[in-house]
């Protein structure tokens, strides 16, 4: 369904673009005709699909790192200690900062390889995850925890287990939502300075004013993102189904 929705939106976008070209009398050089775009998408699919898959893999890696990091920090900072308050305040303030702006620093220090793309993807989706995890991990589920607290059975593991289970829907939504951010982060990183991935292909196409190639990139990015989101949602459903069975 998600894939179909994306294809529909992409098609509508393409039609609008061609409509604007027709109404404004723009040249084929600026906006290529539909047959040229379709040829590019179908015949040179390998030139776009492979970099898009490469980007997807890096995004998945960055996303996974961000989830683990956010969970660990939120776990450590969930109590009302001074450290937890510092972490919470820092997270709230940092998430308001446009993280993409520090991407050049990452490239200066780490070069234009995998590490930079991975790090930028991680930091772009990290803060929304951290803020949500902090909220979930530090909010007691009184009606479930009360018994364990009174009978001395509420250790850290049980506390987190209860809070995660009670907020499973929220966690699945946040993880799926941040997946798009990871994809965005990776593409931005590639567009800025990397030498691999679909962002790099877009950069090259931009320098050549090749709109057909850019549109092809957008299509394959959308397909890969939709596929990743679908997979995450399916995984979330399976986890929930198993726990609720």
């Amino acid at each position: 369904m998600r894939l179909f929705q994306f294809l529909l939106i992409f098609l509508i976008g393409l039609l609008i673009l061609e409509g604007v070209k027709y109404v404004a009398g723009l040249s084929d050089y600026l906006i290529p005709p539909p047959n040229e775009i379709i040829t590019m998408i179908c015949q040179k699919w390998r030139n776009f699909l492979m970099p898009a898959l490469n980007t997807l893999l890096v995004a998945i890696g960055g996303h996974f790192l961000a989830i683990v990091l956010a969970a660990v920090v939120a776990f450590a900072a969930r109590s009302g200690s001074v450290l937890s308050n510092i972490v919470k305040t820092a997270a709230y303030n940092l998430q308001a900062y446009p993280v993409v702006a520090i991407a050049p620093l990452v490239f200066i220090f780490l070069g234009d390889g995998l590490a930079s793309r991975l790090l930028i993807a991680t930091i772009i989706c990290y803060f929304p995850l951290l803020l949500n995890f902090l909220g979930i991990f530090s909010e007691p589920v009184q009606d479930v925890e009360h018994f364990f607290k009174q009978t001395g059975r509420l250790d850290s593991i049980m506390e987190i287990r209860i809070r995660v289970f009670e907020n499973l829907d929220k966690i699945i939504t946040v993880i799926a939502g941040s997946a798009t951010l990871a994809m965005v982060g990776t593409i931005v990183a590639e567009f800025l300075a990397a030498t691999m991935g679909i962002g790099y292909v877009i950069r090259k196409a931009l320098y050549q004013n090749n709109l057909a190639a850019i549109l092809s990139c957008l299509l394959y990015i959308g397909l890969c993102s939709s596929f990743y989101l679908l997979s995450l949602e399916w995984l979330g459903k399976m986890v929930k189904k198993r726990l609720m069975a």
């Binding site: 479930v144 009360h146 018994f147 009978t151 059975r153 209860i162």
Partner: protein, 246 residues
């Protein structure tokens, strides 16, 4: 085994008036005690103060020979990742036994539902499952805050009779309820919080009928029950003690 509250006062920060002022009461020795009052009079707040979850604004509570005070309330939930039976088996205390757990499960009518997850149960079944896990813990006093609120009346009566017979001799059961008949039937003493204004001074204390399961089944004195019910309702409505006790 005694709880003695001396001149305790309590008010929520956001409230215009305090809930209690200088109230005193004493619970002495094991048995089935009740706390009765209309909605919003402060029953749950008092329960939380006794259990130590809230500090009174003024006054003191002295507790003697009561090492384990547990408080349970009707909106509590069991963790959702285990079946009811698995959870109960995991939390049964060393004092209690598997046989005792099975006895409660059977007496409370939950035998057919132990393999289900908690969220699949009806409200009444949830109340019963929650109460069972408290009954298999170590406690000297169990405060039950409307724990059977969603259970049908015949089952509730049976459950109360069962827990009174099992725990009424060596522990304090402190039962909070809106149901005047059941508090009158089973309680040794009923503490009544008046419905109007700020509760001041002593809680109204009414002697209950203190029946057991066997007595209840052959219970013939309807008059005594009606008289006690009237006393409790009068105390709850007016704050006066119809028995003239202090």
């Amino acid at each position: 085994m005694e709880i003695s509250a001396q001149n305790i006062s309590f008010g929520y920060r956001e409230a215009e008036y305090p809930l209690f002022e200088n109230i005193s009461f004493r619970i002495s020795g094991p048995g089935f005690y009740s706390l009765f009052g209309f909605s919003g009079c402060g029953k749950s707040t008092l329960a939380r103060i006794i259990a130590g979850f809230l500090e009174p604004g003024a006054g003191s509570i002295s507790i003697t020979n009561l090492d384990n005070i547990l408080l349970t309330y009707n909106t509590e939930r069991l963790p959702g990742w285990l079946s009811v039976g698995e959870h109960l088996a995991k939390v049964v205390s060393p004092r209690s036994s598997r046989a005792e757990l099975d006895y409660f499960v059977s007496e409370f009518g939950l035998s057919d539902y132990v393999n289900k997850k908690f969220f699949r149960l009806s409200m009444g079944q949830k109340n019963r499952a929650n109460l069972i896990r408290y009954l298999v813990q170590d406690f000297d006093m169990l405060i039950c805050d409307e724990v059977l609120a969603n259970v049908d009346e015949p089952s509730r009566n049976h459950i109360l009779a069962v827990i009174k017979e099992r725990f009424g001799k060596d522990t304090i059961l402190f039962y909070i309820s809106h149901n005047v008949e059941e508090v009158c039937l089973y309680s040794k003493k009923i503490f009544v919080i008046p419905a109007y204004g700020v509760t001041k001074g002593r809680l109204v204390e009414i002697k209950g009928l203190d029946t057991t399961k066997k007595q209840k089944e052959g219970y013939g004195s309807e008059k005594a029950l009606q008289a006690t019910i009237l006393k409790v309702l009068k105390a709850a409505s007016t704050g006066q003690n119809p028995e003239g006790e202090t």
